[in-house]
């Protein structure tokens, strides 16, 4: 029997993945979203498991998460995910995060590209299995959060921190894990800040890959309740910094 267009997966807010306030940390929620995307695409034949056999893989290009409420320690929660559109070089995938009894907690939007794992160059998504992904486009399911828009940042913003990258930053894809950037960005704010501010929305644009040994530099520009962060990488061999990720964070004072 052919699977439906929407996949739904259960997770638990593990206690050691929750912060001082007993709420799930956003990085771990992001990881669960990426897992849901991975399970959903594998189950339907266009996931990493198949792609690796033909030297291709998915690459996350953008991720937006907007939450009204975070799961608390031990809460079961569900993530529904579906592909909203698929074009030659980009596909958009949405997420709905729900409590165990189905109440909406928040939503996510993401944009993915596909690359050749040998050349690291973009390839035609619709050429995989005769455009199999197109059979699973779901346009009726609402995802009531704004699409990500281009995040602007001034050139002369302050360097706030530099962070080295190590073994455990790198995942199966061989480059720094998408969620690790989110954790580093969350870490720019301290526990006292999180006691009075709730992170309502985070937009992440993945621009380039970084690898173990790269130094990540965090430049932050504040505009009201919004913080824009540019992450660059620098390495021993190159003095020039290259932008790898750009993030926008919208906080609500509580």
């Amino acid at each position: 029997m052919k699977l439906g267009k929407i996949g739904e997966y259960e997770f638990v807010a593990e206690p050691f993945h929750c912060d001082f306030s007993h709420q799930l940390m956003l990085g771990h929620l992001g990881n669960s979203m990426l897992n849901a995307a991975d399970y959903h695409s594998n189950d339907r034949g266009y996931g990493m498991e198949y792609l690796n056999t033909v030297h291709r893989t998915w690459v996350l290009s953008r991720l937006a998460i907007e939450m009204e409420r975070m799961p608390k320690a031990y809460d079961k929660f569900k993530i529904a995910t579906w592909v909203e559109s698929a074009m030659k070089y980009f596909t958009s995938r949405n997420f709905a995060v729900m409590s165990a009894d189905g109440r909406p907690l928040g939503y996510g939007r993401s944009i993915w590209a596909m690359i050749d794992t040998d050349t690291r160059q973009p390839v035609d998504i619709l050429a995989v299995r005769d455009g199999l992904i197109s059979e699973y486009i779901e346009t009726d399911q609402p995802c009531p959060i704004c699409k990500s828009s281009r995040v602007k940042i001034d050139d002369d913003v302050e360097l706030v921190r530099s962070v080295s990258t190590y073994y455990s930053d790198v995942d199966v894809n061989g480059h720094v894990n998408s969620v690790k950037y989110i954790e580093h960005v969350l870490d720019l704010f301290d526990i006292d800040f999180y006691k009075t501010h709730r992170l309502k929305r985070m937009d992440v644009a993945y621009v380039a890959e970084s690898h173990q040994g790269d130094l990540l530099n965090f430049y932050v520009q504040q505009m009201g309740d919004t913080h824009i962060i540019r992450i660059t990488k620098s390495s021993c061999s190159k003095t020039e910094e290259v932008e790898v990720v750009r993030v926008s964070m919208d906080f609500i004072k509580e």
Copy 2:
């Protein structure tokens, strides 16, 4: 119906929790063990969920993990856990890690204390619910790895790295998460090292707590294939360093 003495829990080696070699990172395995311990004790009435209501909590004192084989990306695996002994101030809990079809992959041993969450002082484990934990002591189940022994380290070993601690290092307990130390220690070795060395066993002794803002200092002494690591904390307010964790790692060259 009263639950059995041994609890068994299923996990998945999530792809983004696996390293460059597609094997589950040891820190994430450790997290799964702590989850298994937490589920097992909660289900039996002497877990963190109950303890928090009486201002008590479990504190991990020692953790040893010895693995023959690590789960690979997408592998389901099981962790069985049981309490081997319970005394006034310490209880020992063992773990068996198995593949989905029940083959042993490795084992773990741990020692826990209980503290008063207000005073942070040790309290009598057997005073909780009239010694309820004693009803679940399992001594017949084998755990065929050595107990942890005291790890000695010279006084004048090299400071290899200092690492700042941030928001995401701190879990529901309000102090730096036990698994974070494991990740920092794993990160003392680079991917090239892991390409030729397998971590067979890790022993971790948790000596004191550290908190957001503390600087963690890593001192390493190599003795053959064994690396001993002393982690100290220092903070702005105190110049004196205090030992927080001591680790022993046994590698096998492959």
